[in-house]
Symmetry: C2
Subunit: 367 residues, 2 copies
C-alpha cells in the first residue's frame, strides 16, 4: 500500500492520508473503525458501484448502514438526494459519532462529502473513489456539493476528507470509454506539473490501457501528490489552484455545448489541444509540449475535433459565462513546456487571451 500525505490545508485541519493499493477496499472499513473507534460507519454509494460488486467488497459481512444513489450520475447530484441520505442516516439513528464513507465516482464523492459536512454540523468523511477521474482528481481537494436547477456545484463546501482509499482494482469494472476519458486528468496533471510523470505515461501507455495495476498505482500516486501539493498551497482557488483547470476553459464549454454527450475527459482533451495551440500562437511555447500531448491523447483514443454541431460562437458564449471569466473575457491556463505552467508578469496563472488567438485555437479543433 502506497501512502500520500496531504498536509493541513487550514492550520486547524488535521493532515490526512490517501492510501493507494490493490484490493484495499476489503480492509478500508476495518482501518476506518480502528481510526475512529466507537463511531459507526455509514456508506454512500450508487447503483452502478453496487452492481459492479464494489459495495460488497467494502462491506463484506458487516452490518453497516448504506444509501445507494439511484439513478447514478449527475442527474442525482441535487439537494433531493442530499436530504434523502440525511434522513436515512437519522432514521437509522446515526448521530454525531458517525463516519461517512463515500464509495464511487466523482458524483458520489461530491454528494457524500457534502452530506458529511452538514450532518449534525459535520462528521468525518472517507473518500473511496472507484473511477479514473475520481481517483486522479476529485477524491482529494475538498470541493464537495451538488447542482441546482440553474447551475453546477451551486451548493456545497470546501471541506477536506478524513482519509482517502484508492483501490486501483475497482477500475477493472469501468466501461472502456469512461476509463480512457478519465485518464485525461492524469495527462493534465503531468502536463502542468510533472515532466517525469509525462514521460512515464508516454512509456507505459499500453500498460495503462491494459489496466495494469502496478502502473495504475504509480500514476495514482503521482496524481494525488500533484493535486495535494497544489491544493495545500491554495485551497480556495485564489490563483495557483487554477492550474488544475488546464484544458477546462474550452473543455467545459464543449462539454456543455454538446449537451453532455461528450464525456468530461473527452472535452478536456480537446481543451488541452486548444490551449496548446493558444500557447504556440502567442509565442510562449515552441509547440513541442502540444505535439507530445496530442500524441498521448490520440493513443488514448480521445477526439481530435469538436462535434460538428458545436459552433465557435456557442463556445465563446459558454466561456463568457464561465465562473473564472473576468468581465466576460475567458482566462486560460497555458503550458509553456511539459510539466510547467506559464505565469503572467502580474503573477496570475490564468491569463486573458486575445480573441484572434482563441479563434485560431478553436479553428484548429474544428471538424
Amino acid at each position: 500500500v502506497r501512502e500520500v500525505q496531504i498536509h493541513p490545508i487550514r492550520h486547524d485541519d488535521p493532515a490526512y492520508s490517501a492510501l493507494i493499493g490493490r484490493g484495499i477496499l476489503s480492509m478500508a472499513l476495518a482501518d476506518l473503525e480502528q481510526r475512529y473507534a466507537g463511531r459507526r460507519v455509514f456508506v454512500v454509494t450508487d447503483a452502478h458501484v453496487e452492481a459492479a460488486g464494489h459495495l460488497a467488497a467494502l462491506v463484506q459481512d458487516r452490518r453497516v448502514g448504506r444509501y445507494v444513489i439511484e439513478p447514478p450520475g449527475e442527474v442525482s447530484k441535487n439537494m433531493n438526494t442530499v436530504i434523502a441520505i440525511l434522513e436515512a442516516m437519522e432514521r437509522e439513528k446515526y448521530g454525531r459519532d458517525s463516519v461517512l464513507a463515500a464509495l464511487g465516482g466523482g458524483t458520489v464523492g461530491d454528494i457524500g462529502g457534502f452530506v458529511a459536512g452538514i450532518f449534525k454540523r459535520g462528521i468525518p468523511c472517507a473518500q473511496l473513489p472507484t473511477t479514473t477521474v475520481s481517483q486522479a482528481d476529485s477524491a482529494v481537494g475538498g470541493k464537495v456539493g451538488v447542482d441546482s436547477a440553474l447551475s453546477k456545484n451551486a451548493y456545497g463546501l470546501f471541506r477536506q476528507p478524513a482519509r482517502v482509499y484508492v483501490d486501483v482494482t475497482t477500475l477493472a469494472t469501468m466501461d472502456e470509454r469512461g476509463y480512457r476519458a478519465g485518464l485525461v486528468e492524469s495527462v493534465k496533471h503531468a502536463l502542468i506539473a510533472d515532466e517525469a510523470g509525462f514521460e512515464s505515461i508516454e512509456a507505459n501507455l499500453e500498460k495503462l490501457l491494459a489496466r495494469d495495476e502496478a502502473t495504475l498505482e504509480e500514476i495514482a500516486e503521482r496524481n494525488l501528490t500533484i493535486k495535494a501539493r497544489i491544493v495545500e498551497q491554495d485551497p480556495e482557488e485564489k490563483n495557483l489552484r487554477r492550474v488544475l483547470n488546464y484544458g477546462h476553459t474550452v473543455g467545459h464549454a464543449i462539454e456543455s455545448a454538446s449537451g453532455f454527450r461528450m464525456l468530461h475527459g473527452e472535452s478536456v482533451a480537446l481543451g488541452i489541444l486548444a490551449a496548446a495551440r493558444i500557447a504556440e500562437e502567442i509565442g510562449i511555447s515552441d509547440g513541442t509540449a502540444g505535439r507530445r500531448a496530442a500524441a498521448v491523447l490520440r493513443r488514448l483514443g480521445m477526439p481530435e475535433k469538436r462535434p460538428p454541431e458545436v459552433s465557435a460562437a456557442q463556445l465563446a458564449e459558454a466561456m463568457s459565462r464561465d465562473k473564472k471569466s473576468v468581465a466576460a473575457a475567458p482566462r486560460f491556463v497555458l503550458v509553456d513546456r511539459i510539466g510547467h505552467v506559464y505565469r503572467a508578469k502580474d503573477g496570475e496563472y490564468a491569463v486573458p487571451v486575445a480573441p484572434a488567438a482563441l479563434a485560431k485555437a478553436l479553428e484548429a479543433i474544428r471538424a
Copy 2:
C-alpha cells in the same frame, strides 16, 4: 456604537466584530457594502420582522434582494426553507461575490447562517439579531443549521459570522412575554461568568423591563463578551463551551415535554432553579447564588413551577435522550457561586448527578 471583538476561532478565521448601538440598522448595509466592496447584499428575514418595520429600517430605499421567511418561527426552520432561499438567490443572479445579511431572531440567524455557509461553497454572513435571545446568544458563536423531521438542529455547520450588528432599538417591538423570556439568557451568562454583571442586572432590572436602551446596550455588550470569550476557547463544545448550557438540561426537557407551549427562556428559568437546587443538594453551593437567581427570575415574571401535566418521569426520559447525555445519564452544569461554574476533579464542566439529587430538584419545581 460599542464594539466587541471576537477573536479568530480557528487560526485561519478572521477576527470579527459585533457592533452594538441604537438605530444602527440604518447604517448596517452601508457599513457592509464598504467592507465588502463590489459584493451584492442579500437579506434573509421573516414576516414578523418585516411587519415590525425592521426590514424597512435596514434596507431603506436600496435595491437589495431579500427573502422573507413565512410563516416565521421554528416551523420554517427546515431544508425546504433553505432550498427556497438558495434558489431565490440564484434566480436573482447572486454569485460567489455576495454577502448574506440575516435579520431577525434565532431562527432567521440559524437559517441564514447555514444558507450563507453552503451557497457557492460559502459566502460571508452578517448577523443582525432583533430579539432578546438572539442578541444575547445565538448571533455570536457560529452554530447554524436547521431541524429535520426527527430532530432539532440536525443539519448545519460550525461557521462564524463575518460581522454582527446588535441594534437594541429593535427590541421595542417585541411582545412582552418573548421579551422577558429572552432576558433569561442574560441572567444565565451573568450567573456562569460575570458577578458584576449579575449585580448590574439586580440593580437595573426595572430599567431593563422598561426597555431602557442604554441599559440594553450595556447588557448586550456583557452578553457578547462572555459568549465570545467562551466560544473562542472551545468553539466545538468539547468541554468549556458546555457552561453555556447552564439551566438547559432540565430546561430543554421541560420545553420539549410541554410541547413547546413554554418558551425557551421560561423553561431555562426553571432549569436554572433546578440546577441551583442540585448544587445545594450535593453540597457545592451554600444556596446564596440560587436564592439571588430565583429573585431575579421572579422579578422577570418567569414561572417558578413546571406545568402540572409535565411529570418527573417525562423529564427524566427527555433528559436521557439529550445529546449531551453520556450512557443515558444527564449531565449538569452547576454554579457554585455567582459568576462561577463548578468544575469536577476530572476537569469536566458538565457533571453527572445522582438520581436522588435530581429527583429533589425536580420536586422543588413541581406545581
